[in-house]
Amino acid sequence: MLDFTTGESAAELRGRLRRMVAEFFPPDFLGAFTDDPADLAMTQRFSRLLADEGLLTVAWPREFGGSDGSVWEQTVVREEMWAHHEPRGAQYMGLNWVGPAIMAYGTAEQKARHLPPIATGETIWCQGFSEPEAGSDLASLQTRAVRVGDHWEITGQKIWTSYAGMAGWCVLAARTGAKDSGRRGISLFLIPMDREGITVRPLRAMLGPHHLNECFFDSVVATDGELLGEPGAGWSVMKTALAHERVGIARYARCERLLWSLRDVLRHEWGELDEGGRNDWAGALVQVRVARLLAYRVVERQEGNNVVDLEASQARIASTACDQLVAEVMSQLLGPRSLLGPAAGAPSYGAFEDHWRYAQAATVASGTTEIQREIVSRELLGRQAVG
């Protein structure tokens, strides 16, 4: 019968994570990617603390350094981390999908080489997918991996690459097939970022430092042992990886926490605030719950090993739209105060302003809403994928 409780162990885990975050981080912590490098360093230390407690890779199998936790415990971790401004910093990418992709498609050597440092929070990964001419149309990417003797040489440009400047490793998508081979000619490589021929250039952005970078690959050498999956099988690995990613960020969790935090900040004037604005606040709480339930359905279906392409895209459309709705509702209630930065005395140390900026990117990062709508409508209309 229907049951919407996550269980005793998940509830205990939630409390434990909250205590750890509260003890470790100051109240003004807004994530790793601020102008203060100390924030990033703090998240690296916290990741190692989580790893020591077996909480960094809670749902990973024990053989790969995990705790064999339930998918609901993993869900609690995602919610608590995102709600508290992702205190794992740049680690979440390795945990959410690079690690699981290596488990699913990697060789024994790759698993032994890469999974332990992800499980202990030592390595930061970045994802070399987007290119200047290949955004939503990712299958048209043109970074080339050419066979030279017993190795590959990779040449091309990647862009919008988050954490590229700090990452030790990159999952790099390159074309090993013919120029017009589309999704059938893409391969993935696991490349160390300090390899000769790689240049990273940061891009100034409204999200703050580290989020957007350009990466140039100039005849970068890669071995066969650095291929993830078979040559030409990169697209299916990416597709699986991105399905994980669509529910990997529990945006609704930060939304819910901030909506209540806003109520607390405005408690002395709440009754005098515009009724329409307060009604919108109530309506936003409903949208947050809906987004959470859509994510939970994906988790439940993944637990039963069901295909979740449609459901994951529906959940992602809802959670990213919810993020932007909540940002707007909070701005309306705060009025001009929504513009204040942390140093100017912004409410909640700037958490609302920070959320507004991040929310604007929610419908673009890790696959645009338009692509999610294509996936959903294809299922609804019973169509084949284009390309």
């Binding site: 019968m1 229907l2 909250r18 205590r19 606040w281 409903v286 809906v290 859509l294 988790v299």
Partner: protein, 315 residues
């Protein structure tokens, strides 16, 4: 966590769907506007599949069956007060939520007297007076209310009234999306099906997201009807609000995709849009619902992992 409906409930839904389809589906609703016998045929059909054996107040098992029946009934716009009869207070007395200032009940003709309650809990006997004579409420009637001395509607009855009403709207919305998909696949303009236009495809995707979310919120609110021990209506009001938001938008968009044919009653979407209006607007339309919800949240909170109550207990 268990989000999927039990197989028994899904089976029951399939049986109900088959029975109502055999009766004509939306055609029955269409004919009911001029044929008083249609409502009786609907009642007979629903009775044959066990309508009168379900006690939604008895617990979650029966409530899930009642909810599935309301959803399926909504998907055929069945011309019968399903939720009202499921929540009847005696064999011949259905239950309805009303706006006491402008009391109107859909399908009021189904009984000589009703038990009526406001969302706030005021309790009345209600007697149908006259049809509202409107194309957007062909079966609705004004009713005369007589307060029940010392009576108050239970929290459970009001929650179930709101939640089963949301299930009815969910069914209507699901049908509207289905007919929109079918229509845009076959209707050609500029030499191609409407569904080849990206703007149409993306709108359909958004409608499906709304309806899937509403479906899950319906399940959550039904579950919480029996697990939330406070006197709060927040979960029931929240699902009503979401049903109003999603289904209004779905109906409007589906009708738009039909072009002029969307207003012709030979197309199901025209019948669905009209027959859905009482459920969408009674007893409160969206503006009134959200004000009630906000007041209720301010008093009782709104459960979630980061609500103040949860923040206190999880530390």
């Amino acid at each position: 966590m268990r989000i999927e409906l039990p197989e028994a409930a899904l089976d029951f839904g399939r049986v109900a769907d088959g029975a109502l389809r055999d009766l004509g589906g939306v055609d029955l609703a269409r004919s009911a506007e001029s044929d008083l016998g249609a409502a009786a045929r609907a009642r007979e059909c629903l009775a044959s599949i066990g309508l009168y054996d379900i006690d939604p107040r008895g617990g979650l098992d029966d409530a899930v069956a009642a909810a599935e029946l309301c959803r399926v009934g909504g998907s055929h716009a069945v011309p019968f007060p399903l939720a009202g009869v499921l929540l009847r207070t005696s064999a011949e007395t259905p239950f309805s939520l009303v706006d006491a200032r402008h009391p109107i009940i859909d399908h009021a003709r189904a009984a000589e007297t009703w038990t009526a309650a406001t969302i706030e809990g005021d309790l009345f006997d209600a007697e149908p007076v006259a049809a509202v004579e409107s194309k957007v409420a062909p079966f609705a009637m004004t009713v005369r209310l007589r307060p029940v001395a010392g009576g108050a509607a239970s929290v459970l009855d009001r929650r179930l009234g709101l939640v089963l009403g949301a299930y009815h709207l969910l069914g209507i919305g699901q049908r509207a999306l289905k007919v929109a998909i079918e229509h845009t696949k076959v209707r050609k303009q500029f030499g191609q099906p409407l569904s080849d236009f990206q703007v149409i495809r993306h709108s359909l995707a958004d409608l499906s997201v709304g309806l899937e979310g509403l479906d899950l919120l319906c399940r959550f609110s039904l579950w919480s009807t029996f697990t939330d021990t406070s006197p709060s209506l927040v979960d029931a009001l929240s699902v009503r609000l979401e049903a109003q938001r999603v289904v209004k938008h779905t109906l409007r968009t589906a009708q738009q995709f039909h072009g002029a044919s969307g207003f012709a009653d030979e197309y199901d979407i025209s019948v669905l849009v009209r027959h859905a209006q009482p459920g969408l607007r009674l007893p409160t339309d969206r503006g009134a619902t959200i004000a009630l919800l906000r007041t209720a949240i301010e008093e009782f909170g709104f459960a979630g992992p980061f609500s103040p109550a949860e923040e206190r207990t999880a530390r």
